[in-house]
Structure formats: structure tokens, C-alpha cells
């Protein structure tokens, strides 16, 4: 059986759903960040697959994926720094205990 666009899209949708469910249900801020990274990688898979099968000549999708990876790295750096800042204040990264203000 040849691997086609559909297989990649199913993979991408599955990764996105796993990430979304994780991000909404996990309590550890670091794990939430990891789940968001899974969602971004799901987007990358979809982008590259679309680029390969829909527009084989243009590289727009691949370029988009590279930009997403770069920005995601910056976001993760800022995110981990913020998590450390919170940890220094509260000695926890459990989002349910980070509740100085009404959530």
C-alpha cells in the first residue's frame, strides 16, 4: 500500500489531538509546554505533507515548517524561563496551585 497524503493528515490530526488533550488536562506546566510542542509538530507534518502532495514545485509548506520550528524554539526558551521564574516564587510548577489570581 502506497503512503499518501491521507496517511500524513491522519498522523497529523492524531498528534494534534493528543497534544490538545494533554495541554488541557495536564497539571505540570512543563508537560503542558511539551504537549503544545507536539501540536506545533503536528502542524509541521501537515504543512510538509501538503507541500509535497499539493504543491510539489513550490516549497512554501517546507519554509513555513522551518519558521514554525524556529519560532517554537524561541517560545520554548521564554516558556521555560517563565516556568523557572514561577518555580522560584512558589516552589511548584503545578498549574492548579499557581492561583494567586482567580483563574
Amino acid at each position: 500500500m502506497a503512503i499518501g497524503l491521507d496517511h500524513f493528515l491522519v498522523l497529523s490530526a492524531a498528534m494534534f489531538s493528543i497534544g490538545l488533550v494533554g495541554a488541557l488536562s495536564k497539571r505540570n506546566a512543563v508537560v503542558i509546554l511539551m504537549c503544545i510542542e507536539i501540536m506545533l509538530n503536528a502542524v509541521n507534518v501537515a504543512m510538509v505533507a501538503f507541500s509535497r502532495y499539493v504543491t510539489p514545485v513550490a516549497l512554501t509548506g517546507q519554509v513555513f515548517a522551518i519558521f514554525i520550528m524556529t519560532v517554537a524554539a524561541a517560545e520554548a526558551a521564554v516558556g521555560l524561563a517563565l516556568i523557572i521564574a514561577v518555580y522560584r516564587q512558589r516552589q511548584t510548577v503545578d498549574v492548579q496551585q499557581i492561583d494567586l489570581m482567580k483563574w
Binding site: 503544545i36 517563565l82 514561577v86 512558589r90 494567586l100
Partner: protein, 478 residues
């Protein structure tokens, strides 16, 4: 390659680097703010040279310079200038990292300007992240418990919403094979034939992703916490700058790429969300006791009014688009004025609770009057820009046939009068806990004065500004 169209953003980037370097050598940190304001002025000057009509493109049509771009650039630069001026005293709390503070404000402004000037999905995403990542850091800048918590919540939810937005963009790209907004528009009929449900899913994901930026219900839960915890000048910046940038992108994406021929019923989605946003924002604002939270819910409600106008633009109504832009500009001026007054008052009293404003009219007559004036404008009572803006916005929506939506908007305006007037009542009729006067410093007074003059002039004599706004609307919906 036409690098000159990127002039204002380049100026801001260079000045941001210069400020970080200057921070290492200068002792008087006031200089950093002065350099920041100077940078904003230079960028505004460069922006004045940008071509407006006919529109010019750069970088393979990723960047466009038209009346819409130039008008929004001026708005963002004005916002950044006022935020920097009002931070001069507040920034003393940041001790060692004042340079980074001003630099991040400028970089975030550059991101907002790019958001208003791109017509392509990749650059929209990059500009959005440049704005947001700078703001995540700025929200956590006080480094105390509340501020770090605000930064963390904003970052987690912001990153989640970017992922959702990106998935929508990926679907749009897959269906149309392009990321240029105008090419998406021309191939969307084909896309509808391939997969209508995928197109609807993509639209919903885009609405959710952009909705987060403008704090639209049901993606508003971050706003009150972040507004409360963030440094107050950054709260002001978030509530006007990032919101205006979000609406600029929404206007471009939905009007250009998803078009008007009715293949995706995005106006219905926005109409329902507008009702929810207005109502929930106003009703929850009624019970707030913290003035920053009150303004957070008030700004959610204001976003709901803007959404009414966005819905009306779906009939390619230029009048509706100018209503939206005018309302956004008026809201930016007014909300900034209100926040600057709050910065000045809370700086001295150290208290963000509404109860702390009791008798403020006797302790600080000028500041209380300024805050009262801004709240009146937010309510939408003449002779303020808030009234003119709301009038244009709602009348354009009526003209486009959305009468029921406007009626709900008017009911909501009446509800909002209650909580705005409550603050006035506490300030003017409440007993003052002490008779000690509250005085603001020169930069804060300057910033406050500038925004108040703007609110008053645009309220009494809106003609010239409205002509400019109409030109911007023409370049958006040609």
C-alpha cells in the same frame, strides 16, 4: 526587494538594540526612555514617507504599504510612545533590567506594525509571535508572584492558541496551495469543492486563534489574570496595542482571503461570538473590585462592540470597515488615557482596588477628572471619541442589516454605564481615607495630556481623522 517599506520596523529594531547597549553604560536610566521616545518619533517620521496610494508591495507581496498599513503604524507608534512615557516612573521597580523593558516594548510594537502590514500567512504568524513573545516576557517583568504567574498563564495559553491558529493555516494552505491572502481568495471556490468541511474547520480554527489575541469570549479567560498581574503600563499596552493588531489581522484575513461570496459563513460565527463577548464582558465587569480587572472585562466588552463592526464588513461594506477602524483608534486613545491615570494614582497609593479610589477627586482633582473623562468616553457619551466611534460603528452595522446585533450592543452599552459610573461615584462622592495629595510626574502628565487631547479633539471634530480612516478602509476593501 524594496527594503524601504520596512523602514519603521527597522528603525524600531535598531533603537531597541541601542537601548539594550546603552543600558550597560548609562547611570541615569531616564535616558533610556528618552531614546525610546526618540526612536518612536523617528519611526513615525519614516512611516510618514511610506507610499499609501497606490499600494506598494515588497518581498514577493508579503508586505504591503497602503493607507491601512500607514494608519495602523501611526496608531501603534503613538501607543508605544505613550506607554514608554507612562513607564518612566514605573520602570524604577525593574531595577537592573530597564533597558530590556523598553527594548521589548519597541520590538513588540514592530511586531504589531508587521501584523497590520502583511498579506501572507507565514509573515502573519511571525509578526504575531514577535508581538506575543515580547509581551509574555513583559507581563512577567515585575518578577513577583502575581506578575510571574501572569506571564506563565499568558505564555501557555498564547502558545496553545498559536498552535490552533497554525493548524487552521495549514488546512487553508492544503486546500488552496498558497499562503498569499489574495491568491487564497481566488482559489477558494476550488477549495470549497475539494473539502467544504475542512474549509469550515479551518475557518473555526482561525477564528479561535485570532480570537485569543483580541480576548474574545470563549478565549478571554487569560485576560483578567494577565491584566491584573502584569505591570500596569504593559496592561495598557496589551489592552490596546495587541488588541488593535489582532483586529487589523482579522480585517485583512477575513475580508481578503475568505472573501464575501459566502462560501464560509464566518460572519455568523463572529455575530454569535460578538453577542457572547459583549454580554459576558459587561456582566462580569459589574462585580469586579480590582480596577485593573474591571478594565480587563471592560476591554473584553469593547472587543465585542468591534466584532459587531467586523460582522458588518462581511458585505464588503467600506463604511463598516471605517467604523471598525475609527472605533479601534478611539478605544486605544481612551483606554490608554484611563490606564495612564490609573498608573499615576496607583503609583502613589500602591492600591489597585476600586475602594482605594474613594474620595480621589479631592486628593488628585486633575487625575480624577482625567480618569472620569476617559470612563465617560468608554461608556460612549458625547463629547468624546467614544461616542463618535460607537455611533459610526453601530450605524454602519445597521446599514449592513445587522439590526438585532446593534440592539444587543446598545443594551450592553447601557449595562456598561453602571460599572463605569460606579467608579466615578466612588471617586467623587466617597470619603477620602487621607487628605494626602496624589501628584503625577511630568512624563506621566504629558502622556495623559496627549491622550486626553486626542479623545477630546477626535470627539468634537472627527472629520479629518475620519477621512483618513475612510482611505484606509478603501485600501482594505477595494
Amino acid at each position: 526587494m524594496n527594503l524601504s517599506l520596512l523602514g519603521p520596523e527597522i528603525v524600531l529594531g535598531v533603537i531597541a538594540v541601542i537601548i539594550v547597549l546603552l543600558d550597560l553604560v548609562v547611570q541615569k536610566k531616564g535616558i533610556l526612555a528618552a531614546v525610546g521616545v526618540a526612536g518612536v518619533l523617528i519611526a513615525a517620521l519614516v512611516n510618514g514617507w511610506l507610499p499609501m496610494e497606490p499600494a506598494k508591495y515588497a518581498f514577493d507581496k508579503m508586505l504591503v504599504s497602503d493607507s491601512f498599513t500607514v494608519l495602523f503604524n501611526f496608531a501603534f507608534l503613538g501607543i508605544a510612545g505613550l506607554v514608554i512615557l507612562s513607564s518612566v516612573d514605573y520602570a524604577k521597580k525593574f531595577r537592573r533590567s530597564q533597558g530590556e523593558y523598553y527594548a521589548l516594548v519597541l520590538l513588540s510594537t514592530a511586531g504589531m506594525m508587521l501584523m497590520a502590514s502583511t498579506r501572507e500567512l507565514i509573515s502573519i504568524y511571525i509578526a504575531l509571535e514577535l508581538t506575543s513573545i515580547s509581551l509574555y516576557v513583559l507581563a512577567a517583568f515585575l518578577r513577583d508572584g502575581k506578575s510571574s504567574e501572569a506571564g506563565l498563564k499568558y505564555m501557555l495559553l498564547g502558545a496553545l492558541s498559536s498552535a490552533v491558529l497554525l493548524y487552521g493555516m495549514a488546512l487553508i494552505f492544503g486546500l488552496t496551495g498558497t499562503t498569499q491572502l489574495d491568491q487564497i481568495a481566488s482559489s477558494i471556490t476550488v477549495a470549497k469543492a475539494i473539502g467544504q468541511s475542512a474549509l469550515i474547520l479551518a475557518t473555526v480554527l482561525l477564528v479561535a486563534g485570532f480570537g485569543f489575541k483580541i480576548a474574545m469570549v470563549p478565549f478571554q479567560m487569560w485576560a483578567p489574570d494577565v491584566y491584573e498581574g502584569a505591570p500596569t503600563p504593559i496592561t495598557a499596552f496589551l489592552s490596546v496595542g495587541s488588541k488593535a493588531a489582532g483586529f487589523a489581522v482579522i480585517l485583512r484575513v477575513f475580508n481578503i482571503s475568505l472573501g464575501h461570496e459566502g462560501f464560509v459563513d464566518w460572519q455568523t460565527i463572529f455575530a454569535i461570538l460578538a453577542v457572547l463577548t459583549m454580554t459576558i464582558g459587561n456582566v462580569v465587569a459589574l462585580v469586579q473590585s480590582n480596577v485593573k480587572r474591571l478594565l480587563a472585562y471592560s476591554s473584553i466588552a469593547q472587543a465585542g462592540y468591534v466584532l459587531v463592526g467586523v460582522v458588518a464588513t462581511s458585505n464588503s461594506s467600506q463604511f463598516a470597515a471605517s467604523g471598525v477602524i475609527f472605533f479601534l483608534l478611539g478605544y486605544a486613545l481612551t483606554n490608554l488615557g484611563a490606564f495612564i491615570a490609573i498608573i499615576a494614582i496607583s503609583e502613589k497609593t500602591g492600591n489597585d482596588e476600586i475602594a482605594g479610589y474613594s474620595g480621589m477627586a479631592r486628593r488628585a482633582p486633575g487625575l480624577a477628572l482625567a480618569l472620569a473623562f476617559c470612563l465617560i468616553s468608554l461608556t460612549g457619551i458625547p463629547p468624546t471619541v467614544g461616542f463618535v466611534g460607537k455611533f459610526y460603528l453601530f450605524s454602519s452595522a445597521v446599514e449592513a442589516g445587522w439590526v438585532w446585533l446593534v440592539i444587543i450592543g446598545l443594551i450592553n452599552s447601557a449595562i456598561s454605564a453602571y460599572y463605569y459610573v460606579r467608579v466615578l461615584k466612588i471617586m467623587y462622592l466617597g470619603a477620602a481615607p487621607s487628605e494626602e495629595g496624589v501628584k503625577a510626574s511630568a512624563p506621566v502628565v504629558t502622556a495623559l495630556g496627549l491622550s486626553l487631547v486626542g479623545v477630546l479633539i477626535a470627539g468634537i471634530y472627527p472629520g479629518p481623522l475620519f477621512q483618513w480612516v475612510e482611505a484606509a478602509a478603501r485600501s482594505l476593501i477595494g
